[in-house]
């Protein structure tokens, strides 16, 4: 009975989404206040029904209603209750419903917190979001319905994929979607602005906090995904340039360019075309990512569904949304470059270079991800494009970015003084070079990557610290740091930490597959590993063989690790569960292979990975920066409601804000 209610709720939501994308748009076009006013209530109503449907599905999982086919496919009686939650989004249909729910969460937030925006503008924004909801709800109902029944009900279900039975999986998709889907807000703002002919830039100020928050969530989602892959998948890696990872990374790259471009457009009025295009591209890449993951066009670890029918549906929707928005852009984009003028050497130029490089990086990732397909189309044969390509290209493209980051905050708008800046940054450069050289002497076998990592990290880190110091010294009390600035400082510092993590880990981590007999000790990377055999163990829904490995250094035990080989009920093959001794400066990571003989010898994989946690710490700092920047008072405390279309010059509003 309840699943049918859920189904019905979805249908109602679909109808409301239809209304949401039609009525307010007509209202805004015709200037009909009544129709415009329907936007917020309809959006709220749509959210309510989607939330209801999602609640029904969750309830079905919690009560283990195996008459619902999706529940039967993704959980079973032995599944612990906390994983029943995450099982809701463990496969295609449920994760799609989560997508729509999160889109509606953003829509609701927008409807609630936009009282000061002109109604016609918001009507268009909500209308665009309604169109996106419409597409996804249609897709769900017609091709991927989670409420399909399996009658008679099964006694027990298949299991949730064991790899997904993990706390990381509970958080990773929702956070990722909050980011991915959150770019729809910036997208909707851009389209609304284009449709309304609002060529001035007042709306950018509104868009910025929403975009920053979405970007922060996406950063969090990607960071979580990387960390989770590291400790669950058992191969000690943290990024594989897998098509689905790339599908989330491309929007992130464009999103990073977007948040910077929005800053320029808001403060100086320049880069309007860039900002509009980047807003469209960021969300387009999110949609493209959704397509890639669910259409089966690319082989991938994550791929949810390989159904041509579904693929065609999403492709058609993608064409409508992106093609439509790019057409609107072609017709309505500002014809003349606007904004305050700036010289060759200025902050604007640096950010323009930033835009270019991040956009090219996203294009490169897209090219590499799709190249196997291009190869097939061109008849070139089956080509594989993997980490060697992506890693190499990405480093090359980001090299100028890393070199120029410290200059950004120091260069002024319109005219930057590179001599003065270099003078200020000289200590950073010197320290970077000196420490890198010292590090290379300390480590036994110096590697270019490691040295470059230390140097780059210090250059960026000290560079941003020097800027923070400059503000501290020169700005008057109470006006030293705005939240926006603090966010920038945190995020750029996060970049420094991230760089250190990536390059030092790659240069110094040690991996070794060894055969260990009970009682045997191996000496790896300065640590002693003693194997104390394998014993049986039991979990809530699995049986395991658990190894005991003592890790010690200079005779003192620093930890005991228990890697497992888990056999879940049902037909699941054995899962390898590594055990990790985490540390700020070094991770020790052990995984069990297979039994090698009757006397208890096992194959064991041991990793010692210095600085690997810095990768995710850097990501978290970047995320923090994004959230903090979004809280800036300037975005919230605005003067009286802006009339639309703005008759006052846009520059005036930005100036009053600067004067705060």
């Amino acid at each position: 009975m309840l699943p049918e209610l859920g189904q019905f709720a979805l249908i109602l939501a679909l109808l409301l989404a239809l209304a949401q994308c039609v009525l307010p748009m007509i209202g805004a076009w015709r200037g009909n206040a009544a129709l415009i006013a329907t936007a917020r209530p309809i959006a709220t109503g749509q959210f309510v029904f989607v939330a209801l449907a999602f609640g029904v599905l969750t309830y079905a999982f919690l009560t283990q209603d195996f008459s619902v086919r999706y529940v039967a496919q993704n959980s079973n009686l032995a599944l612990p209750w906390y994983y029943r939650f995450s099982a809701v989004w463990g496969a295609h249909e449920g994760s799609l419903l989560l997508w729509v729910l999160i889109l509606d969460v953003w829509t609701l937030a927008l409807a609630a917190f936009s009282r000061r925006l002109p109604d016609a503008f918001i009507a268009r924004v909500l209308g665009v979001l309604g169109f996106v909801s419409l597409g996804f709800l249609a897709f769900t109902i017609f091709t991927s319905n989670p409420f399909v029944r399996h009658l008679p009900a099964l006694a027990d279900g298949a299991d949730l994929n064991p790899i997904l039975q993990d706390p990381g999986l509970i958080m990773h998709p929702p956070m990722l979607y909050m980011g991915y889907v959150g770019f729809s807000v910036a997208f909707a703002f851009a389209i609304a602005a284009l449709l309304g002919g609002e060529l001035d830039v007042a709306w950018i100020r509104w868009a910025r906090p929403w975009t920053n928050v979405a970007w922060a969530f996406l950063t969090l989602g990607i960071t979580l995904g990387s960390w989770w892959a590291y400790y669950v998948l058992g191969w000690g890696g943290w990024w594989f340039w897998d098509p689905v990872e790339n599908a989330s990374f491309m929007p992130w790259l464009v999103g990073t360019a977007l948040i910077h471009s929005q800053a320029v457009t808001e403060k100086r009025g320049s880069f309007r075309a860039w900002t509009l295009l980047l807003s469209i591209f960021a969300f387009s890449l999110s949609l493209l990512g959704t397509f890639l993951v669910r259409s089966g066009v690319l082989t991938s670890v994550h791929a949810f569904a390989s159904d041509p029918k579904r693929g065609l549906f999403i492709l058609a929707f993608l064409t409508l949304v992106v093609g439509g928005s790019l057409t609107i852009y072609a017709l309505r984009a500002p014809k003349v470059a606007g904004g305050k003028p700036f010289q060759m050497l200025s902050r604007e130029t640096l950010l323009l270079i930033n835009n270019l490089l991040f956009a090219c990086a996203a294009a490169m990732v897209l090219l590499g991800t799709l190249y196997p397909l291009i190869g097939d189309a061109l008849g070139v044969g089956r080509i594989s494009v993997g980490p060697p390509y992506f890693g190499f290209m990405f480093v090359l493209l980001m090299l100028p970015v890393v070199l120029l980051i410290p200059f950004g905050p120091f260069f002024r708008w319109a005219a930057g003084d590179w001599r003065a800046t270099l003078r200020v940054l000289a200590p950073a450069l010197a320290l970077a070079v000196v420490c890198a050289l010292m590090a290379s002497l300390l480590v036994g076998v110096p590697s270019v990557r490691g040295i470059a990592g230390v140097a780059a990290s210090l250059w960026v880190g000290i560079g941003i610290a020097l800027y923070a110091l400059k503000r501290w010294r020169e700005a008057p009390r109470g006006r030293r740091y705005t939240q926006e600035m603090l966010g920038m400082i945190a995020a750029h510092f996060g970049v420094a930490i991230f760089l250190a993590g990536v390059l030092v880990t790659e240069a110094t981590s040690v991996e070794s597959d060894v055969r260990m007999a009970p009682g045997e000790t191996k000496h790896i990377a300065g640590l002693d590993f003693k194997f104390n055999g394998v014993a049986a163990a039991q979990g809530p829904n699995f049986r395991a063989q658990q190894g005991v490995i003592e890790v010690s250094r200079d005779g003192k035990i620093i930890s005991t690790l228990n890697p497992q080989k888990r056999q879940y009920s049902g037909n699941a093959p054995v899962q390898t569960k590594a055990d990790i001794q985490p540390g700020l400066f070094r991770d020790v990571y052990v995984a069990l292979g297979e039994s090698l003989d009757d006397k208890g010898a096992w194959a064991v994989r041991i990793y010692v990975k210095p600085f690997v946690r810095w990768i995710w710490l850097g990501g978290l700092l970047m995320m923090l920066g994004g959230f903090v920047a979004a809280t800036d008072r300037r975005f919230r405390a605005l003067p009286a409601r802006i009339e639309a279309p703005a008759t006052r010059p846009a520059l005036a509003t930005t100036e009053t804000a600067l004067a705060q």
Partner: protein, 180 residues
């Protein structure tokens, strides 16, 4: 023109993705085409399954075309292919060489006893080395080798009557024409 560029680029992308969907419906996405087509088959010398003291090598087979069929007792799909080999491929008159790949000989013999033996000769590649030389990565796979020892065609996956009709027969016809 500048402003149309993104739209045009996007349409190119859509074209590519549409092609991708179409391609998927017509091809096995995991199939890796062999670089050995048109090249000489690798030299091999393998013991016979039923008499390990004797062996069969590439030189022994020169002069007449033959079809090497890679199978294993552990391979579920091979069970479905076997009757088709017996019923549809054997009658074509081409020499059938079975290669038991990565399979303990006893297991292969048992499996053949159960599912039938359409082969003219069976060799055992227990450690898989010859398989690697042929570029075998799954079972069943089949290689059509001509009288000069050059690989003309490879089938990755099982033969179906339709595939035999569509792909094997034309290749065999080409071999017939090539004969003086």
């Amino acid at each position: 023109m500048n402003r149309l560029l993104p739209l045009l680029g996007f349409f190119a992308l859509v074209g590519l993705l549409g092609f991708g969907i179409w391609w998927n419906t017509h091809h096995e996405t995991n199939e890796v085409p062999s670089p050995l087509i048109g090249k000489p088959a690798p030299e091999f010398t393998l013991p016979l399954l039923y008499d390990s003291t004797k062996s069969l090598s590439k030189a022994d087979l020169l002069g007449k075309p033959y079809l090497v069929n890679v199978f294993g007792s552990w391979c579920a799909t091979c069970q479905y292919e076997h009757p088709i080999l017996t019923a549809k491929v054997k009658p074509l008159g081409i020499k059938l060489i079975g290669m038991a790949w990565k399979d303990p000989p006893e297991d292969s013999k048992r499996w053949l006893a159960r599912f039938g033996d359409p082969y003219d000769a069976i060799v055992s590649d227990a450690d898989g080395r010859t398989g690697i030389d042929f570029g075998v990565y799954m079972a069943p796979e089949s290689f059509l080798v001509d009288a000069q020892g050059v690989i003309r065609y490879k089938r990755i996956g099982m033969f179906t009557p339709e595939l035999i009709e569509r792909e094997l027969l034309p290749e065999l016809a080409k071999l017939q024409q090539a004969k003086p």
